[in-house]
């Protein structure tokens, strides 16, 4: 149990997907203008990530590895994620309309979000067990959500700021603030070991 918590906390704070591993930068910069959409995107990504891991891990272990076709991993995983996203969308639309209303708009974008494919492959590369994989994935999703929500707050301030030099307006200043947020997250280095071990 402790091990699972350590894996999860590490990926949320220390090895944050966006701020230290550069996975999911496009939605991080593109959808973080408003707090609501940042939250929605973060939750939708977490949701799809967990489902994707729950499906891809057994497929890797019991299908690809068993029949020695691990080289199909990339192809199989991306197809599974693409069809899962569709499936989740249809299911939510039919059975849980309120959830679909708040998350549905973000779902089509998630297929090409590298954080989702990244986490499923990372779980295999790190040789995590099924439970470890799920906890790593949940942590990755929550870390993404945390970074999105924090950054949307920063951007709100940026938009009100009028003192930015001409050349830095827009994208450059956004990247500089992302860089500073990333420095802040570096401060978490070692915290997990300190608390749990």
């Amino acid at each position: 149990m402790k091990e699972l918590i350590v894996i999860m906390m590490t990926v949320i704070l220390v090895d944050n997907f966006v701020l230290s591993q550069f996975l999911g930068i496009c939605p991080f910069l593109g959808v973080s203008k408003k707090m609501d959409s940042a939250k929605g995107m973060g939750i939708a990504v977490t949701f799809v990530m967990v489902i994707a891991t729950a499906v891809t891990w057994p497929i890797q272990k019991y299908l690809l590895e068993r029949y020695d076709v691990e080289y199909l991993q990339t192809l199989v995983f991306i197809l599974i994620i693409a069809s899962l996203v569709q499936l989740v969308e249809v299911t939510l639309k039919k059975y849980i309309p309120p959830l679909y209303k708040s998350l549905g708009i973000y779902l089509p974008l998630i297929t090409t979000n590298c954080a989702v494919l990244g986490v499923t492959i990372m779980n295999i590369d790190e040789e995590y067990t099924y439970l470890q994989s799920l906890s790593n994935t949940l942590g990755a999703g929550l870390g993404f959500l945390l970074a999105m929500v924090l950054f949307s707050g920063v951007r709100k301030r940026l938009e009100e700021c009028t003192m930015i030099p001409e050349a830095f307006r827009g994208i450059p200043i956004t990247l500089v603030s992302a860089s500073l947020l990333s420095v802040a997250f570096m401060g978490f280095g070692g915290i997990v070991e300190g608390i749990f071990l």
Partner: protein, 227 residues
């Protein structure tokens, strides 16, 4: 011929995928801890881009438009797998350095975007030219970013020390914050040199996102409403 040359050079400067169109930022930031890594990532992506562009241009009349997204994904993933195997066999050090980001070429917006925006509407030769141009532009951007980060962060150029004791490397440029910072400075410089003309997009958003047709830009709107 002149047109083809224009298609080729378009991707290198005027529509540089990273520095002007701002696509594919994940691999750009993650693999540029050194000039050699950036270069390797650029070339790998270019190989996939050229091959997938050509195959998609060949198949554009056969693939029904309703299933084009999964069809493109399969084509791209196939070429990524080939590149992955070649790197593992012949360049194991580069493979180890790039690691996770090699399979992630599949979800690189540049490749999908060019398939959707260019290869599905143009001839095979033109698509190949576009792929080469965009690939060179991507490689160039990654190498430049990698060069700067490596020089500042570890005091080496392509792995060779250039200043010896006189230069104290600033580790932070090799870490995540340095990646964001160097990219910000480069884009700001382009903005400054071109007096804000080069980079038309003022925010990173839906323009150029390959999924725009599916989502219609809802993600960027206030509390998106679905019909």
């Amino acid at each position: 011929m002149k047109n083809k040359l224009k298609t080729l050079t378009n991707g290198i400067i005027k529509e540089n995928p990273v520095l002007v169109l701002l696509l594919g930022l994940c691999p750009t930031l993650a693999t540029t801890t050194g000039a050699a890594n950036g270069f390797g990532m650029g070339i790998s992506t270019m190989a996939v881009l050229v091959c997938s562009n050509m195959v998609i241009a060949l198949l554009k009349d056969i693939i029904p438009s309703k299933v084009r997204v999964p069809a493109y994904i399969v084509v791209i993933a196939g070429f990524v797998t080939i590149v992955q195997m070649l790197l593992k066999a012949f360049l194991p050090t580069l493979d180890a350095a790039l690691g996770l980001y090699i399979p992630l070429i599949v979800v690189n917006c540049i490749i999908f975007g060019r398939a959707e925006m260019f290869a599905s509407k143009n001839s095979v030769l033109n698509s190949a030219m576009d792929g080469i141009g965009m690939g060179i532009g991507f490689t160039l951007a990654l190498t430049v970013i990698g060069f700067i980060r490596e020089a500042l962060g570890s005091g080496t150029i392509f792995g060779m020390a250039f200043a010896g004791e006189a230069w104290t490397p600033m580790m932070i440029f090799m870490l995540a914050p340095g990646g964001f910072f160097v990219l910000a400075i480069i884009i700001a410089t382009i903005n400054w040199l071109s007096k804000g003309q080069a980079i038309k997009k003022k925010e990173i958003g839906c323009d150029g996102c390959p999924m725009i047709e599916q989502c219609g830009g809802y993600c960027d709107r206030e509390e998106g409403r679905l019909a």
